[in-house]
């Protein structure tokens, strides 16, 4: 029964979210024809005991994809930020989006 603080909507129940998998791999450029790099992206996953970045989709909320850092042992949500952002995590705080 996770609670995830969406940067846009605030703290919400897990039922509003869809799990989107590992967020620690970056999709190769589309023009990259190297099967190995694509295979790395699609198939090879770290399975850390501890902090792990993963995508969650606020499916029933603002429909934004979020990059959630979660502790896989305690389920503690350490940070949440929009998937499109690459700067510092928002630490679960509400942000103004104007």
């Amino acid at each position: 029964m996770l609670r995830i603080t969406c940067p846009y909507c605030g703290e919400r129940d897990y039922v509003e979210f869809g799990y989107g998998g590992d967020a620690e791999n970056t999709m190769p450029e589309l023009s990259d024809t190297d099967i190995g790099r694509w295979a790395d992206y699609v198939f090879f996953r770290n399975d850390p005991k501890g902090e792990h970045a993963e995508f969650w989709h606020h499916q029933h909320g603002c429909r934004q994809w979020l990059r959630v850092v979660r502790n896989t042992v305690t389920h503690e949500v350490i940070s949440v930020r929009p998937a499109s952002e690459t700067d510092a995590p928002t630490q679960g705080k509400q942000v103004e989006v104007a």
Binding site: Y8, C9, G10, R12, D13, V15, E16, Q59, H60, G61, C62, R63, Q64, P82, Q94, E96, V97, A98
Partner: protein
């Protein structure tokens, strides 16, 4: 224009609901179809769009995805970081006239009025019945008037807007049209123990 057919069709029947009470716990009413115009922009230019909305339509765009701003019969709900819903009555022409001035590079608009059924829930037990399914804190402190939330009830996506009201809590619930009958059936069953009535559609 042909009439817009209610998604609730024959399942909607006005009348008393469930356990009889002195004061109805819950009052349910289907709202007339809404003009719902969605405007989506991009982060770099969205601020400018918001300014021109304020200038042209006289409505301040909310800064967060929780607050509703209203002017005349137009309300703005910020349903995503750079996405707005204009919920409008007769003024929809003004809003459309405005959106038509925007180029695709600034913002794009989509009409979605037919895709939502709007149900109004009022009464002393309005919060109770919503929280039978809604995992959102509806307390005055957490969910004051003119706040909305997009969430899910009984696996059905909903948008719940707390209306300004001098007469107890009042909510408009926006439900995807194709789910409307299922949601209605759920709602009526959840409301029955609390007692109340179903009003004729607005």
């Amino acid at each position: 224009m042909a009439d817009i057919r209610s998604a609730l069709g024959s399942v909607y029947k006005a009348g008393p609901l469930g356990t009889p009470r002195d004061f109805p716990g819950v009052t349910l009413q289907e709202q007339s179809p809404r003009n719902l115009i969605q405007l989506s922009g991009w982060p770099d230019s969205f601020g400018a769009i918001c300014e021109s909305i304020a200038a042209r339509l006289g409505i301040r765009v909310p800064v967060d995805c929780l607050t509703v701003t209203t002017h005349d019969d137009v309300s703005i709900l910020r349903v995503g970081p750079t996405r707005l819903w204009f919920v409008c009555g007769a003024s929809s022409a003004r809003v459309r006239a405005f959106t038509e001035t925007l180029g695709a590079g600034d913002a794009v608009t989509t009409e979605i009025g037919h895709s939502r059924t709007v149900l109004r829930i009022t009464g002393s037990e309005a919060r109770t019945v919503l929280n039978r399914g809604l995992p959102i804190d509806l307390d005055d402190r957490a969910f004051p008037e003119n706040v909305f939330a997009q969430s899910v009830i009984h696996h059905i996506p909903v948008l719940v807007h707390r209306l300004p009201s001098s007469d107890g809590p009042a909510f408009d619930v926006y439900v995807s049209r194709e789910y409307a009958v299922s949601f209605w059936e759920w709602l009526v069953e959840a409301a029955a123990p609390l007692g109340g009535r179903i009003l004729e559609s607005a």
